[in-house]
């Protein structure tokens, strides 16, 4: 099985992921069917606990050992969930690049930046990769002082600079896919625009297929081709027009709660205690909640422009 020449789609079928912790079994993903098309930027947005990070970790085979999975994840013809680690190692760092969260904590604190790049060159198996490719990569992200940066330890560089270094590391091997995990986390607001610039540069350069995980709606709406909204382990909306016309009540509420829109909150119905909620997970807080919503969960209903929404309002 040789390396795939062109980036493939990720196909997910009825994925469920749970974690067994102490005496509890926590469901992180509760039935997801989606395709991440290659050559497109897909952003997964949602709030804490919705499962967006777990979804991305699943498709790139980065889950911890105690995760319990069911369903299928395909990269082209490869069954990711059942493939051996040693086989998938051919993909990490070569086909698939990662820009992890919290740039300040993503480097080994006792090694210089140069050594981090050396590792990539050594393990990539690509012949043309040298220090000059590294320098080209750094220049792409406006890091011109190569000598200083390569000889620095991670703690000597600012969070914003470290993120640019991470981007340079990710694109060095010209991967087919890049996963950017919460790129704005751990950075102050002045760096937000530079994050957007960094990701745009990646998109314009060799890497066309991206998965971005974020809770930053502005980044999502300005940068993505496809936006997936997750809530409580399920996909509740797929939006292809930059959230200009949000469909699901949750997405609408989220946009209304933004500072720019005046921190509006929905007038929710009384908090309904549902120990085992078989209906819509958002129902207890939804201003449009119908009795049906509490007992039944809608499927993803296709709308025009390849948008979909999981809500009986659109049935």
């Amino acid at each position: 099985m040789g390396l795939i020449k062109v980036g493939e789609d990720f196909r997910i079928e009825n994925l469920k992921v749970a974690f067994s912790l102490k005496n509890d079994k926590i469901t992180a993903i509760d039935g997801v069917d989606i395709i991440f098309p290659h050559d497109k930027v897909t952003t997964i947005i949602g709030e804490s606990g919705c499962g967006k990070s777990v979804l991305a970790q699943t498709i790139f085979h980065l889950l911890p050992d105690y995760a319990i999975t069911s369903g299928k994840v395909f990269y082209g013809n490869i069954d990711i969930l059942n493939a051996a680690n040693c086989y998938l190692q051919k993909f990490w760092g070569k086909e698939w690049g990662l820009i992890p969260q919290l740039p300040g904590e993503s480097f080994s604190p006792v090694r210089k930046i140069k050594k981090h790049f050396n590792d990539i060159i050594k393990f990539s198996g690509q012949i043309g990769l040298t220090m000059s490719s590294v320098k080209d990569s750094l220049t792409l992200f406006d890091l011109h002082d190569h000598e200083r940066i390569l000889n620095a330890y991670p703690h000597e560089l600012s969070g914003g600079m470290l993120q640019r270094v991470l981007c340079a590391m990710a694109v060095l091997t010209s991967p087919k896919w890049i996963l950017a995990d919460e790129p704005t986390k751990g950075l102050d607001e002045d760096s937000y625009s530079s994050v957007f610039d960094n990701l745009t540069k990646i998109k314009k350069s060799r890497v066309k297929s991206m998965v971005v995980i974020t809770h930053d709606l502005n980044l999502a709406s300005n940068f993505s081709d496809i936006i997936i909204v997750m809530f409580a382990g399920q996909i509740i909306e797929i939006n292809t027009n930059s959230l200009s016309t949000p469909l699901h009540p949750y997405t609408k509420a989220l946009i209304q709660a933004l500072p720019a829109n005046g921190f509006n909150i929905t007038n929710r119905t009384e908090t309904i205690k549902l120990e085992q909620n078989h209906g819509c997970k958002f129902a207890p807080k939804c201003p449009n909640c119908m009795p049906k919503c509490l007992v039944e969960n809608s499927l993803l209903i296709c709308q025009e422009n390849a948008n979909s929404v999981r809500c009986f309002l659109y049935a």
């Binding site: 709030e47 804490s48 607001e189 002045d190 809770h215 709660a257 500072p259 908090t271």
Partner: protein, 226 residues
């Protein structure tokens, strides 16, 4: 009334053997029953100033006055009252409660400290105001979300009927929808009790929405926002 006059705070960077001045002649007066906002870039010293105001951090110059008295000169009883009436809500709700203690014990702690009888009715009433169910008290901090813990922090701050609450970036670690809910709750609280708020944030929009009298901390000094 809480007042800071000419506060100065130096910071010594051992690595390069140099002293930096984080706060240089900061003064702020907080009158009763008003809402104040303190803005500034990350790392400018807002949190440091808040901690100095609360007597949690040492400083190198200036004084803090509570109702006209220097807090460094307060006797034990007066210090007790100061601690009762001036409360703090931090930006890290997840680590604001002792992880080893049940939340019920953490909530009763203010009563135990002052050697008062535990007022369960008051706790229940406040939980209702912050929209939390009673059963959260049976849990440990790690079992609650950031938003729930932040509401509980505010609840605990209200237990002793404070006059002033200092909020250090209370919503920066929270999701967007939770942030909006917490801000609405803070506004609602002021209609029930007369409390002075000092809200520290990097986001002007939060301070404007809360109708704060805004001050800006730049270059180690506090200036009124125009």
């Amino acid at each position: 009334m809480l007042e800071a006059t000419n506060i100065r705070k130096n910071y010594f960077n051992r690595a390069i053997n140099k002293t930096f001045t984080v706060l240089d002649d900061c003064s702020l007066k907080l009158y009763d029953n008003k809402v104040y906002g303190l803005m500034g870039k990350s790392g400018c010293g807002k949190s440091t100033f808040a901690k100095i105001l609360l007597g949690l951090s040492s400083f190198d110059g200036g004084q803090i006055f509570y109702n006209g008295k220097d807090i460094a000169q307060l006797n034990a009883k007066q210090k007790c009252i100061f601690r009762e009436k001036v409360q703090f809500v931090s930006q890290t709700p997840a680590s604001f409660f002792d992880p080893k203690m049940k939340l019920s014990a953490s909530m009763c702690e203010p009563f135990r400290i002052l050697e008062l009888a535990i007022d369960n009715e008051r706790i229940n009433k406040l939980l209702e105001i912050v929209s939390l169910p009673l059963n959260v008290l049976k849990r440990y901090p790690y079992q609650l979300s950031g938003g729930e813990l932040q509401r509980l922090s505010i609840c605990r701050a209200l237990l002793l009927e404070p006059e002033t609450i200092v909020f250090d970036e209370p919503t920066s670690m929270l999701d967007i929808s939770v942030q909006a809910e917490i801000l609405h709750m803070l506004k609602k609280l002021r209609t029930i009790n007369e409390i002075t708020y000092l809200l520290i944030s990097h986001d002007r929009r939060i301070l404007e929405w809360m109708e704060c009298e805004i001050f800006i901390l730049t270059n180690g000094r506090i200036e009124r926002d125009v």
